[in-house]
Each structure stands twice: as structure tokens, then as C-alpha cells.
């Protein structure tokens, strides 16, 4: 049985989240990881997310690199190339602008999660006192 078939089955056994949920939060995930770490390269980012979420979130390489390139174009990350033989490893670091964006997006996502939680469990409420 090929590796990709096992991987395809494991997607369902391991209860991974749907790609739609991950797509909307990918940028926030990447920015937050870079904020908490000095610099990371692509493989490190995917591995870190997998370990921190016990495999529940697995960022596909096909989604990660477009996001990283877009962040670089927006000036939210800078890159540093390190040559390993014939390979070129790009380390990504947050800029000041990226730091601000990271904070904003994390706060926004946290608020969104609280709101959704209130929606799904109305009795718990948002914790606001209605006027």
C-alpha cells in the first residue's frame, strides 16, 4: 500500500479538521508561530503545527508556501537564505508590520472563537451584560 493511500485514510482516522476551517486560519497560525519563534523554515512550521495539535491540524505544503510568499510580498516577513550544499533553505522572520498583524489576527480569532462558542452554547453567553 502506497504512502499516499495510508495518508489519505489516516486523514479520517485521525479526525483532522476540514480544509475550509484551516484555510481561514492558516495565515494567523503561521504569523503566530513566527511571532513565538525567532525564525523558522517551511518544514519546521508544518512539523511544529502537527506536534502542537497532536496531528489534528496538518498544514499542506501546497497551502503553506503560497501563504509564506504572500506574507513576504506584503512586508510581514523577511527571509534569510542559508545554503546547505545544493539546497537553499529560507528562514522566515516576522517584521514589525508582521508582528502587529500577528497580534491583530490572533486577537480577532480569539474573539471569533468566543463568539462562535456563545452561538453554539447560548446559555454560556458571551459574558457581556446587555444594556
Amino acid at each position: 500500500m502506497c504512502y499516499s493511500c495510508i495518508h489519505y485514510i489516516l486523514r479520517y482516522i485521525c479526525f483532522m479538521y476540514s480544509s475550509e476551517l484551516i484555510k481561514g486560519t492558516l495565515k494567523t497560525i503561521v504569523l503566530n508561530l513566527l511571532k513565538k519563534n525567532d525564525r523558522l523554515y517551511g518544514y519546521e512550521i508544518t512539523n511544529m503545527v502537527k506536534e502542537l495539535t497532536a496531528g489534528k491540524i496538518q498544514i499542506t505544503e501546497g497551502a503553506l508556501y503560497p501563504t509564506l510568499h504572500a506574507l513576504e510580498k506584503n512586508g510581514e516577513v523577511t527571509t534569510e537564505k542559508v545554503y546547505i550544499g545544493k539546497r537553499v533553505r529560507k528562514y522566515y522572520t516576522l517584521t514589525t508590520k508582521g508582528n502587529e498583524t500577528a497580534s491583530e489576527r490572533v486577537d480577532e480569532l480569539a474573539d471569533f472563537i468566543r463568539t462562535i462558542k456563545a452561538l453554539l452554547d447560548p446559555e454560556a453567553g458571551l459574558g457581556h451584560v446587555p444594556t
Partner: protein
């Protein structure tokens, strides 16, 4: 941890390029990532190429090129929204200029042409090309992209055709008719057959095709195949010619009268008759030009049809000539011309006199430039009659010493 050799790294990089990744940065990103996975997960016991193929297959759904396409899409994301904003601004600006220009044209306000020109240029050179670029990005298939670009090019040609027509510039008909015929003969069938293949848009395609056929057919019928002419220039040219000839004829009459006996009763009568009409018409013309152009009577007196800024003014004709009463009105002029025609009987023999056929002229419900032309023509006929009289008299009266 498995250690990749240089040949294996070269193989992976070459394969990534073969699979359609052109962006160099992305090539090296993917190369490093694949190498990291192999180094951490490949045991070295199984087949390397097979493990590599299974690894790279995780990166995409259908083909590796998807990663590059997604990267390019995200890189142009910001530009896409900026372009959409510009599209909206240029569209509304062009539309506003064209509508206001059309209203100004109806009200005969002078800046109408400038507004129409600006609107057409913004629409044809900014809005349509931007719309084509955005549609090009939005449409998934190459066929649909081609249809929209083709349609845009025809739209640009038609816009400039209409603009050229409004401005009386050359090649207006070539652009207008040409773009209409390409639209009806090529674009509409192409659009129909390309879009009909998509089941989801079949109804819209049929509806759009019918609307385009009907609209295009009507435009083709209404388009004027004749050469575009600037009617104002034609009218000015004719008016100028007539005014010059009238002035020349009057000068000739003056010369002839000087050569003849000045105290001849009939000569005096003819000269007075012509002078009365000429003076009345001269004053009417000055009054009309003064009211139409909002200048003093003195200034108006030296202006000609070609000097009019508002040649299409019809209100001034009604208010200050056709519907007015008393002096310098249409009624007073008609009475004067009637009296002139009657007096001509006694001065010129049958066959040599030409009564002024003022009843055949439409001097009301007309525009000021046409009325001025008609009045100048009457002056010319009067001068012509006087010239005929004086020439006839020339033979029978002793010239003045």
C-alpha cells in the same frame, strides 16, 4: 536520519521543475521541504524514487503546478482588489461624464463635447481594458478568457467609433460599422458556442445572445452609412459665401449708381426700396445675434453666422422675431417684403423682376443660424434685383459727368 547525496538532490530539483514549477524561490522552498521529509522519514530500505513520488504527491491534489498557481494568485490578490476599486471609479466617472455631456448637448451648452470626449476616453482606454484584465483572471477556461478579451476589443473599437462620429473625425464609419459587423458576425456566434457548453450558464447564454443579436441588429440599421460631415462647418461655409456675395453685389450697385444720374427718380426709388429692406434685415440680424450671443448690438453688427457660439438656438428666434410684434419682427418684415414686391412691379419689367418668395421660407420654429442665412439670402435677392435694374438702366441713361 537519512543523508541525501548530490545526485538525489539534483533529481528532486529537476523533477520539481519538470512538474511545472517555474518560480525559482518556490522551487528551492519545495526542494528543501521534500529533502527534509525524506531525511526524517525515509529509512533507506525501500525504493528512493517511489518514496519521493509518494512524498511529493502530498503537496498537491491534481498536479504540483497548483502550488505555483495558488502562490501567483495570492501574490496578485492585493493588486486584484486595487484594480477592482479603480474599475468602479473609472466606470462611474466615465458614465457620469457621458450622461452629463449628453444633457449639455441637448441644452446646447458649449462644454458638452469636452465631457463626451473625456467620458469616452476613460471608458474606452481605462474601464474596458481593466474589465478585460479582471475577467481574464476570473474566468477559469482559456476559451472563456478569449471570448471576454475579444468582446472588450470590439467594445473599445465601437466606443471610439461613436466618439469619432460625435466629434466629426475621420474614419468614424469604418470604426463603428466595422466593430458592429465583427460583433454580429464573429463575436456573437463565438460567445454562443463557447458559453453554451457550460450547462450552468446555458439559459443566460441564450438570453444574452438574443439580446446581443437584437441590439446589434438595431444598431446596424440605425447607423448612418454616409460620410460624417460637420453640418455646422457646412452651414458656416454657405453663410459666409452668401454674405460675401451680397456685400460684393451691394458694392457693385453702389459703383453703378454713382456712374448714373443721381437725381433720376426711378433710380432713387429703387435705391430707397433696397436700402429699406437691407437696413431692416441688418437690424433684425444684429438683434438676433445680440440676444443669442449676449453681446452688444454694436458688436453683433459686425458678427457673422460663423461667429455664433450657439448656432442651434431656437428660443431667440421665437422670442425676438417670430412671436414678437412691432418693429424688427417677422410680421413687420413680411409686410415690408410684400410692399417691396408690389413696388418692384413699377420699377422692373416682367421677366426681369424677381419677387422675394418670403412665404416659402420657414422663418419661425427654426434655429438662429438658419434664419440668419435666410435673411442674408433675402438681402442677396434684393441686391440682385437692384443690380438688374441698374444694369438695365445703364444703357438708357446718360452717365453722370
Amino acid at each position: 536520519m537519512y543523508q541525501l547525496n548530490e545526485d538525489q538532490v539534483d533529481f528532486i530539483l529537476s523533477d520539481i521543475r519538470k512538474k511545472g514549477i517555474d518560480l525559482e524561490d518556490l522551487q528551492y522552498d519545495l526542494l528543501d521541504h521534500v529533502c527534509c521529509i525524506i531525511e526524517n522519514e525515509f529509512s533507506g530500505q525501500s525504493n528512493f524514487e517511489q518514496f519521493y513520488e509518494d512524498t511529493i504527491a502530498r503537496f498537491f491534489r491534481k498536479e504540483l503546478r497548483e502550488v505555483q498557481d495558488e502562490t501567483k494568485k495570492l501574490l496578485t490578490f492585493k493588486d486584484y482588489y486595487a484594480m477592482k476599486r479603480i474599475l468602479n471609479i473609472t466606470g462611474f466617472t466615465a458614465g457620469g461624464f457621458i450622461v452629463i455631456g449628453a444633457i449639455f448637448r441637448m441644452l446646447e451648452i458649449s462644454s458638452a463635447n469636452v465631457l463626451m470626449l473625456l467620458g469616452a476616453v476613460i471608458f474606452g482606454l481605462l474601464f474596458l481594458p481593466l474589465a478585460a484584465v479582471l475577467k481574464f483572471q476570473d474566468e477559469a477556461t482559456a476559451r472563456n478568457k478569449f471570448v471576454f478579451v475579444f468582446g472588450t476589443l470590439i467594445g473599445i473599437a465601437a466606443t471610439f467609433g461613436i466618439l469619432f462620429k460625435l466629434m466629426y473625425w475621420p474614419y468614424a464609419n469604418v470604426l463603428m460599422r466595422g466593430s458592429l459587423m465583427v460583433f454580429m458576425g464573429l463575436f456573437v456566434p463565438t460567445y454562443f458556442f463557447v458559453r453554451l457548453r457550460e450547462a450552468t450558464s446555458r439559459f443566460n447564454t441564450m438570453l444574452s445572445t438574443i439580446l446581443m443579436l437584437v441590439g446589434g441588429g438595431m444598431m446596424l440599421t440605425l447607423s448612418n452609412p454616409k460620410i460624417s460631415v460637420n453640418m455646422e462647418d457646412c452651414l458656416y461655409s454657405v453663410g459666409d459665401f452668401l454674405e460675401t456675395n451680397t456685400a460684393d453685389m451691394q458694392a457693385i450697385n453702389e459703383d453703378i449708381a454713382d456712374k448714373l444720374a443721381a437725381n433720376d427718380r426711378k433710380i432713387e426709388q429703387m435705391r430707397l426700396l433696397s436700402g429699406r429692406i437691407d437696413s431692416e434685415i441688418g437690424q433684425i440680424k444684429a438683434k438676433l445675434i445680440s440676444e443669442s450671443e449676449q453681446v452688444s448690438l454694436e458688436t453683433a453688427g459686425s458678427m457673422t453666422i460663423a461667429d455664433l457660439r450657439n448656432p442651434y438656438n431656437s428660443e431667440v428666434v421665437q422670442a425676438h422675431f417670430a412671436e414678437s410684434t412691432g418693429e424688427l419682427s417677422m410680421q413687420s418684415l413680411q409686410e415690408l417684403l410684400q410692399a417691396y414686391n408690389q413696388e418692384l412691379h413699377s420699377l422692373l419689367p416682367e421677366g426681369h423682376r424677381y419677387a422675394i418668395p418670403y412665404e416659402k421660407l420657414q422663418m419661425d420654429r427654426t434655429i438662429v443660424s438658419v434664419l440668419l442665412y435666410e435673411l442674408t439670402h433675402i438681402q442677396y435677392l434684393v441686391a440682385n434685383n437692384e443690380n438688374r435694374f441698374l444694369n438695365q438702366y445703364l444703357g438708357s441713361v446718360e452717365p453722370q459727368q
